[in-house]
Symmetry: C2
Subunit: 130 residues, 2 copies
C-alpha cells in the first residue's frame, strides 16, 4: 500500500531527478537535512525566534553553525531575517510561507522518528542480541 503510494509519487514527480547527481534539489535537500538545518526548521515551526533564543532551543549548536545554517536557509527562501536597528542588536528569524511548507514535511519526518523510536530501539536490541 505504502509502496503503491510511494510509486505513485515517484512516477508523478518524475523523481529520477534527485537521484541524478547534478540536480539542484540535492543542494536544497542538504540544507534541510544536514545536522542543524532540520532542527532549526523544527524550532522555527513554532514561530519567530531571536538568534540567542534559537541557540538555546537547539541543543548543542554553536553560534557559528547556527548563523551558517540560518544563512543557508535564508538563501533558499525558507527563512526571513529581520534586523531591527537598535543598539543591543535585535534580529528576528521566522519561516516564510515556502519555509512553512518545507517545515511541515520536516516536522512530520522528525515527529515520526520520535514516535517510532521505541520500535527502532527494540529492533536494534534484537539485532545486537543475536
Amino acid at each position: 500500500m505504502m509502496d503503491r503510494i510511494a510509486q505513485g509519487l515517484l512516477d508523478s514527480w518524475k523523481l529520477g531527478n534527485v537521484l541524478a547527481a547534478d540536480c539542484p534539489s540535492r543542494g536544497v535537500l542538504s540544507h534541510l537535512t544536514n545536522r542543524w538545518g532540520a532542527l532549526v526548521m523544527v524550532a522555527l515551526a513554532t514561530g519567530p525566534h531571536r538568534f540567542a533564543e534559537l541557540r538555546r532551543k537547539v541543543g548543542g549548536v554553536s553560534e557559528r553553525m547556527l548563523s551558517q545554517t540560518l544563512k543557508d536557509l535564508e538563501a533558499d527562501g525558507f527563512v526571513l531575517r529581520t534586523a531591527h536597528q537598535v543598539v543591543p542588536p535585535h534580529v528576528d528569524y521566522e519561516l516564510t510561507p515556502l519555509g512553512r511548507e518545507a517545515a511541515g514535511h520536516v516536522v512530520a519526518l522528525v515527529g515520526w522518528i520520535e514516535g517510532a523510536l521505541p520500535r527502532i530501539m527494540a529492533g536494534k536490541l534484537a539485532l545486537a542480541a543475536e
Copy 2:
C-alpha cells in the same frame, strides 16, 4: 494554519526531544538525512534492489558509501538484507515495514522539494538580483 498544525504536533510529541542534544533520535535522523541515506530510501521505495543496481540508480554514490549507508539503515531496522549463497554473489536489499513508513516521509519531503524547486530557484534569483 500550518503554524497551528506544527505547534500541535510539537506539543503532542513533546518535541523538545530532538532539540535535546543527547536524544537517540538524533542518530536515526542523521542516517535518514545524510548525503546518501535519503537517496537510498527514495530508491528503495520503489521495491527491492541489488547492490550494483542501487549504485547505478543513485547517481554519484561510491561503493564504499553505498555499503556504509546500507549498513546504517539496516542497523536502524529500515532495510532488510538478503544474501543468496550463490557463487557470483547475489544480495537483495528491501525496505522493512518500518522502513516503508520512514521512506514515506522522506519521499514526501524530497518530492516536495522537487515540486517547489521552481519557486525556490525564483526566490534565489530575486535575492541575487537585488
